[in-house]
């Protein structure tokens, strides 16, 4: 039965996260972007929402909630509405935990999961993207070769969130048979080097790193034989939902500004040139949210959601760029000044078309 109504439980989570985003995340966003750092207290508060720990099975010290992509997109939109960098930071440990929960052996689960059930934020991440023109999820250049009970990883990764402090980096590499697996590289392992913290156009508050793998030996037991294409659909949908959140933030700011700002004796929102831009922005945001929900719903049913996830993300990439750009335009010269957040949202929005694997639902 078709319904556009989240369950009561989902609505409760959504409301909780929305309040946190409005009261804690948004007020910190500007300074975090300028400083290139997110306050540790904020990350800790975010951790206490339980968004990461809740899906750890009870046997491993968690609340044992099922991973739901639909719940995931509701949460992702609200967090990213607050700030994209902070949202990605808070949810980064999921990049390791979800594949471990979904596809890890009992031994791996027992070794990894209990430490993430604690009261303090614990960093973990995944390395998917590679720093070269022509990056293709279907043809990762990072390789894993089996050698004496271990896997030797070789390659370069980029846009790895929190690589510096992560306890584990789930590194995706191509097996000898052409399939892709995730390999858990523990903190301090030999053969992995954090090259440098990246300087990007946006996401300035989030630590993302370039990482080199040179004969990095990973025990065979650390291989997660996950369904990589399905995992990437979870990433696409998560990022699409975040694009909706960023776009919604920009739309709301531009809408409120347009009602305040006077020109020729009336609010500029009373001019159709501005009003119609806002109307289109609102419509496209809603449309994209529904595409994202549909793709997430398909994932939760266990169906192949590749087409829906790809289309939702592609649509969301373009929509977020256009909506945030329009928001700058509505503010005119003021939109270009960093005192207003719309230029920050535009810089962040541009990233979506390039991001893969930075978040997961």
């Amino acid at each position: 039965m078709v319904s556009f109504q989240p369950s009561e439980e989902q609505q409760l989570i959504r409301d909780t996260v929305a309040s946190f985003a409005a009261e804690q995340i948004r007020p910190a966003a500007h300074e975090a972007d300028e400083d290139g750092a997110i306050p540790g207290t904020l990350i800790q508060q975010g951790w206490e929402l339980g968004l990461v720990q809740s899906t750890i099975p009870e046997a491993h010290g968690g609340a044992g909630e099922a991973i739901s992509a639909v719940t995931g997109v509701l949460v992702a939109e609200e967090l990213a509405w607050g700030d994209l960098s902070i949202a990605l930071h808070l949810l980064a440990p999921r990049l390791l935990l979800y594949p471990v929960i979904l596809a890890g052996t009992p031994e791996v689960q027992q070794r990894i999961l209990p430490a993430f059930g604690g009261n303090e934020f614990r960093a973990a991440t995944a390395a998917v993207m590679e720093p070269r023109f022509g990056f293709d999820l279907a043809e990762l250049a990072t390789t894993a070769q089996r050698k004496n009970g271990t896997f030797m990883l070789n390659g370069s990764k980029c846009l790895v969130p929190l690589a510096g402090g992560a306890e584990h980096i789930l590194t995706f590499a191509r097996n000898e048979d052409g399939t892709v697996s995730g390999f858990i590289v523990d903190k301090g392992a030999a053969g992995i080097t954090r090259i440098e913290r990246e300087k990007n156009m946006g996401l300035k508050a989030l630590e993302t790193d370039e990482v080199d793998l040179n004969q990095c030996a990973v025990p065979a037991a650390n291989r997660i034989a996950c369904d990589f294409p399905a995992l990437m659909n979870r990433s696409r949908v998560a990022l699409a939902a975040m694009a909706v959140g960023v776009a919604r933030a920009a739309f709301e700011y531009a809408r409120d500004y347009a009602k305040e700002r006077k020109a020729f004796g009336v609010a500029i929102a009373q001019k159709q040139a501005i009003a119609f831009m806002l109307a289109e922005m609102a419509t496209e945001i809603d449309a994209t949210r529904l595409l994202t929900w549909e793709a997430a719903w398909k994932i939760d049913r266990g169906d192949d959601a590749t087409r829906e996830a790809v289309l939702a993300k592609h649509y969301a990439d373009n929509m977020a760029m256009k909506v945030t750009d329009n928001a700058v335009q509505v503010l005119g010269g003021h939109g270009y000044i960093r005192e207003h957040p719309v230029e920050l949202w535009t810089r962040n929005a541009r990233g979506f078309a390039t991001f893969e694997g930075l978040a997961i639902v």
């Binding site: 078709v2 279907a138 809603d286 449309a287 590749t306 289309l311 649509y315």
Partner: protein
Amino acid sequence: MIDFELSPEIARNRDMIHMLAESQMRPLSREYDEREHEKPMEFFEMMWNASKMSPVEFGGGRSAKKDGPSTRSLGSAVTIEELSWGDAGLYLSIPNPGLGGAAVMAAGTPEQKERFLARFKNGAPKWGAMAITEPGCGSDSAAITTTAVRDGDHWVLNGTKIFVTSGWMAVEKSEGFVVVWATVDKSAGRAGIKAFAVDHHTPGMTVAGLEKKMGIRASDTATIVFEDCRIPLGNILGSPEVKKTTEGFKGVMATFDNTRPIVAASALGIGRAALDYTRETLEKAGVKIRYGAPAHKLTTLERDFMDMEANLQAARLLTWRACWMMDQGLHNNLEASMCKAKAGLAVTQVTQKAVELLGPLGYSRKILLEKWMRDAKINDIFEGTQQINLLIIARRILGYSSKELS
């Protein structure tokens, strides 16, 4: 619980209507596109008999407020997408109460509903129509100049209405009726606008001509002239009183919240026809759409096709949401305009792109793609142009009255 699965009943109905669209409508498409103003009477008879068996809500379902949640509106949208996938012009010309029926349903008394709608349950095929637009006013329906003057037991109508869908069939070619918007008090502006149901063959009402159109040529678009046309007092829909407020006008406008998602659904059907045809043509030519391939590997054609697909699906989900809200008894004025604005534009873009992608084949009248492109454009115009719907959306999101944002 968020869910995108159609109920088994709606899905079954969709499959049935799809077969009908493919076997009965597609073969007539080109013929009645070229033989404008001629009518496929056999097809009408069949649809008329079929609709008596399982009535389809062509004018949109009823609000759920009285009946509790239902799936009527969503069911109608799904059905109408299939019929329009078959042929949008033929769909629009199927005998049914139409927009006139929707107005009677929304604003009529039980007696009026009986008098004007019961006839659609039996006898020969009939049509209902709605007459709003005039030569001098379209979207600005408050500027209507057609007058209704009370004279004893009658209202006397005078004026000219244009762009009346199925107007010819409703008032001269069947025992149908037309709902006419007219002013009872020009000085009262919007508050003076009232809707009147006028029976077929009422003296003083004549069809003065039929438009020759870019598309949806199977559907007649009539000019109706009223010259001292006398109708019973009881034919006014709603109160005859001219209040200082514009409540009455708003009531009539609320009909659009029901009908806009239905127009959007029809648009989706045309868009899907074009998309399906394009997909099949590409498959035959060995072109595969590589979902998930990176930007540097995708061809322009793949990108265009994926844009078309996503654009259409975005419009479909907005449409389903507006219908679902109506079925839940929720106020959907904003969402109805969103889906109509989006679907009208999306189907225009999708069909234009499809003709472009298929090149000379797409441009040729040997296949139906060019016809679908011509048919599609009307969805960007009627039942509120894209711009009128953007205006409504803007007022809603900004909290402005029509005075504050005009």
